[in-house]
């Protein structure tokens, strides 16, 4: 076989593989739409938000409580994790002595690697009992937000630290030349300069939190109701899918696939936001 024939065969093989890998996304979207089509085509998208309750076997498809549950747990997780994550990065770069910074960074990376099901287990056995003492039932929006915050904190901390590391040293030199204290330089020079990348990291983390299933499912209580306080149990879109998929049939199953599409769309929007924020702002 001549080299050029072999090369043509190789290229064909590689192209087919790349086609498979690229086509997978289309296949996934196709199947999600195909499975949810019976419900979407008949009841439409609007009723998922307007129906009063979630009784998909009785033609009532209100996803609003789950939608609010997802947004609330994610929002709560961001409120906790964003300041702690940014402070962690600042700590690592500007405050901790080198050996301590190295250990701290190692702990953050290890935390990032903990499987969500393990964080859920820990949340249920360690965090939930504490919240129960404060205000029963314990499995709540607050517990979900805390566990999710723990999960996404490394994302915020590591992206922020990357952003701080990539700032040109002249920023710091200029601040020092102006006689700014270390704190003033951090507050008014370093963090504002890195705010685009930090926002991108937060958006990325929000996407992860929104798409997370197991950790929230295990600690949030999973009651289909609009929460009125942080101590109320909530059910997220993802938890709803995981809980009901096992026995759902017909329109019920189709509406679960529709909520899967909705989740994927929300996460994709956040990911696109992260890309824009990260690429759009550079430190000129």
């Amino acid at each position: 076989m001549s080299p050029s024939t072999r090369d043509r065969q190789l290229l064909r093989l590689l192209t087919v593989s790349a086609g498979l890998a690229t086509g997978l996304l289309a296949l996934i979207v196709l199947f999600l739409v195909r499975e949810s089509w019976p419900v979407i085509s008949r009841v439409g998208v609007v009723r998922f938000f307007l129906d009063q309750s979630w009784h998909p076997t009785e033609q009532s498809y209100g996803l609003t409580p789950m939608f609010v549950g997802s947004l609330a747990t994610t929002g709560g997780a961001i409120v906790i994790a964003a300041p702690l994550g940014v402070a962690s990065a600042v700590f690592c770069r500007f405050y901790a002595p080198e050996p301590m910074a190295r250990i701290y960074r190692w702990a953050i990376i290890l935390l990032a690697g903990l499987p969500s099901v393990v964080l859920g287990l820990w949340g249920l056995t360690a965090v939930v009992p504490l919240i129960t003492q404060l205000h029963p039932p314990g499995t709540s929006l607050l517990a979900g937000s805390i566990v999710l915050a723990l999960m996404i904190l490394p994302t915020v901390a590591l992206t922020t630290e990357g952003a701080l590391a990539s700032l040109p040293p002249s920023y710091w030199n200029g601040a020092a030349a102006l006689g700014l204290s270390r704190e003033a330089a951090i507050l008014f020079v370093v963090l504002p300069a890195a705010r685009g990348s930090i926002a991108a990291g937060v958006a990325l983390a929000a996407g992860r939190a929104l798409g997370e299933t197991m950790a929230v499912l295990m600690v949030s209580g999973n009651v289909v109701r609009l929460p009125s306080s942080v101590f109320d149990p909530v059910r997220t879109l993802t938890a709803n899918i995981a809980l009901e998929m096992a026995y759902a049939t017909g329109d019920h199953r189709a509406s679960l696939f529709a909520s899967g599409l909705l989740t994927a769309a929300l996460v994709a929007v956040l990911a696109a936001m992260a890309t824009r924020l990260g690429g759009g702002r550079t430190h000129a």
Partner: protein, 292 residues
């Protein structure tokens, strides 16, 4: 930048704002470190008491409250094997196409890249839904190790492709010129030069993919199923270790101890896989520095 940082306030009477910033940064770090230590201590204390050799080699009893996790470990390994055997050839071929045949920044490269990025960002439960609809129902594989493994293959594909692509790109161009000067075909170049040269990086990427797949739960609950018996074929349902932890925590009263023990086993496996990946990646980097 760090070296230039003034390590103390130049004024001997720090203003209140600076003091406040210092206190908040240190206390935030203390909260994070404290919580991490708390998680770690809970895992070690509650998990270690139940782990011994017999925990690893016996079957679960009483829905997992007693006994071990032998069939679960076997099912986990089988699921991962299916995922690796399916995903690796496709990932390697796609990566080779991206790094050797497609011009960087071309439309083909950007569209493949975009689709991989979207795929990598999809929530795992969405992969679970797809796996259930496509592998279990449409292809008729049912709740089986095969369905679960193929679902995980889809999920890890973007990571595997990206890491393999990076690994292949790190091979110095001189090696490609040398091969061209010797009149080698691109196929020979790929098999005999590029893949062996990039082997540590490729393996490191593979390890990362396996680690990600092993931590996965949501994509497996309704593809590979819940059955905790020893699987006898790939078409049997098998319970992965992460699903086992979930089930013991949520559905089995009094399963917490064994859930913690299984979690500790899972984390030990993940840490060893990640250390292997880091070590292999470091080896490639070192080799690249000495050869170029």
């Amino acid at each position: 930048m760090r070296n230039l940082a003034p390590t103390t306030n130049r004024s001997s009477f720090p203003i209140p704002r600076d003091r406040l910033v210092q206190v908040s940064v240190w206390s935030a770090a203390a909260i994070v470190a404290g919580t991490f230590a708390w998680v770690l201590a809970d895992l070690l204390v509650q998990g270690a008491s139940r782990i011994d050799w017999s925990f690893l080699v016996t079957a679960p009893l009483k829905a997992g409250r007693a006994g071990g996790i032998a069939p679960i470990l076997v099912a986990t390994v089988l699921i991962l094997m299916v995922a690796v055997v399916t995903a690796v050839p496709i990932a390697l071929a796609t990566a080779a196409l991206l790094s050797e045949f497609v011009r960087a920044g071309s439309r083909t490269e950007r569209s493949i890249g975009l689709s991989l990025d979207v795929l990598a960002g999809l929530p795992s439960i969405v992969f679970g839904l797809f796996g259930n609809a496509f592998f279990c129902v449409w292809l008729g594989m049912g709740f089986s190790i095969l369905s679960g493994g193929l679902t995980l293959a889809c999920m890890t594909l973007p990571i595997l492709i990206r890491s393999a692509e990076t690994g292949l790109r790190m091979v110095p161009d001189e090696w490609r010129y040398g091969a061209a000067a010797l009149g080698l075909s691109r196929a020979t170049l790929l098999w005999q030069v590029l893949i062996p040269a990039a082997a540590p990086a490729l393996t490191a990427g593979l390890m990362l993919g396996i680690g990600r797949a092993m931590a996965e739960t949501a994509a497996l609950i309704f593809t590979s199923g819940y059955v905790d018996r020893m699987p006898s074929s790939l078409l049997d349902s098998g319970r992965a270790i992460s699903v086992h932890i979930y089930d013991l925590t949520m559905n089995v009263a009094g399963g917490d101890q064994n859930a913690y023990a299984s979690a500790l086993v899972l984390i030990a496996l993940l840490i060893s896989i990640n250390s292997a990946a880091l070590w292999l990646a470091g080896k490639t980097l070192k080799r690249r520095i000495t050869t170029s």
